[in-house]
Amino acid sequence: MNCDDSRIYLPAYLDDELDVAESLRVQKHLADCGNCRQAQDQQLALRSALRDPDMYARPSADFSKRIEAAVRRAAKEEARSHRSAWFDSLRLGSLGWVPVAAVLVVMATIGAFLVMNGGRSSHQELIASAVLAGHIRSLQPGHLIDVPSSDRHTVKPWFQGRLDFSPPVPDLSELGWTLIGGRLDYVDAQPVAAIVYQRRMHNINVFLWPDRGSADDTIRQQDAQGYQILHWNGAEMTYWVVSDLNNAELLEFAQALRGH
């Protein structure tokens, strides 16, 4: 091996990328040639300068935590958007992620509904998915109520001029259902009233709008992966109630509301 060859092979030799036979040839040449040894020393000096720990850019501990949290969040969101019982993990206390994920969740909800119902997308089912989406949307910070009041005489008039109907807003406080306010929502291609009641930290959204199509006041109940959706038709209005409250209590609420 001459010096020209040696210089070509030297980097790969130092990087341990030559096979044994080639390595031995380089080694032998280096033993005999001072100039090439000098070149080797320079390569090694450069290497140790580059491998100096101070040259290595290290992320801050804070950044590492942020990344870990971001990945966990992504995993959680992915789990939620799957068809598993993702609603279970949705709690009022942990809504930090909601603004980011809200759109995804709402879309996933509608999607899940369609899947759950085997593609039967009847009108009623579309409304059910829309009110459920509305309920979830309302749980975002600041989205629950437009008019915060426990006074039905404040909530009911607030809808004047905002809707072309006047929604009944019964006071059910004696039965243990606290009125906390109302807001406008949009379901079935029309603006609707959403009245919000509460029992123990569980929010209950009551969506209602005029519908004279059917007077079937049987309360129909469906379970949407952890949430309860109740529906019946009143004399003039159609009602949809959504909450994470348990089955029995929510039914009691619906009966109280229907009775008014």
Partner: protein, 180 residues
């Protein structure tokens, strides 16, 4: 694979290489803020692609994603900070001295070494960082950067030569006694 299984696998095999990911992104972009953004994006990409990771060698797998994310980022943000494109590689620094009697010493000054590496054209810098700092094999570098093995070798060798010349300071050799 459930999300939980993906997360376990990710945290066990990929997360430990966060340092390498940041180091690479930092050297490619030469910016702390950009590096953090890139690593975050790359980690989320890696998480969603974890099922395609066959468990062979996690570090080159992750660094490939970081590298590609960085390149997209650099293209998108080509501005005043634009990197030197491969074609417009700076002129090679001249040999400090033609005098063969001079021994060239490599500067050990950290600041100087850092600046020299930062000035190195992007493709060379990438190869040098992957090799010297991350210890990737030629083959892994070739896969990560999507160029043939021969190109990796030539980039490494030219990059190192470039650095060597920039960092060399001539040291006069004492005249040998008895020379006539």
């Amino acid at each position: 694979m459930t999300s939980q299984e993906k997360l376990c696998r990710f945290e066990e095999q990929i997360s430990p290489h966060l340092k390498s990911a940041y180091n690479l992104a930092r050297w490619l972009t030469r910016s702390h803020e950009d590096a953090e953004d890139i690593v975050q994006e790359a980690f989320l990409r890696a998480f969603s692609a974890i099922e395609s990771f066959r468990g062979e060698n996690a570090k080159p797998w992750l660094l490939t994603i970081v590298r590609n994310t960085s390149m997209t980022w650099l293209k998108r943000n080509r501005s005043a900070r634009a990197t030197i494109a491969f074609e417009e590689v700076l002129e090679d620094p001249a040999e400090s001295s033609p005098d063969p009697e001079e021994i060239l010493m490599i500067s050990c000054d950290g600041e100087q070494v850092r600046r020299a590496l930062e000035q190195l054209p992007l493709d060379f810098r990438e190869a040098v960082v992957l090799r010297e700092m991350e210890g990737l094999s030629y083959k892994d570098i070739s896969i990560a950067t999507g160029v043939p093995l021969g190109t990796v070798m030539s980039r490494l060798s030219r990059g190192r030569e470039w650095l060597r010349r920039i960092l060399s300071t001539p040291q006069p050799v004492k005249p040998q006694e008895g020379a006539s």
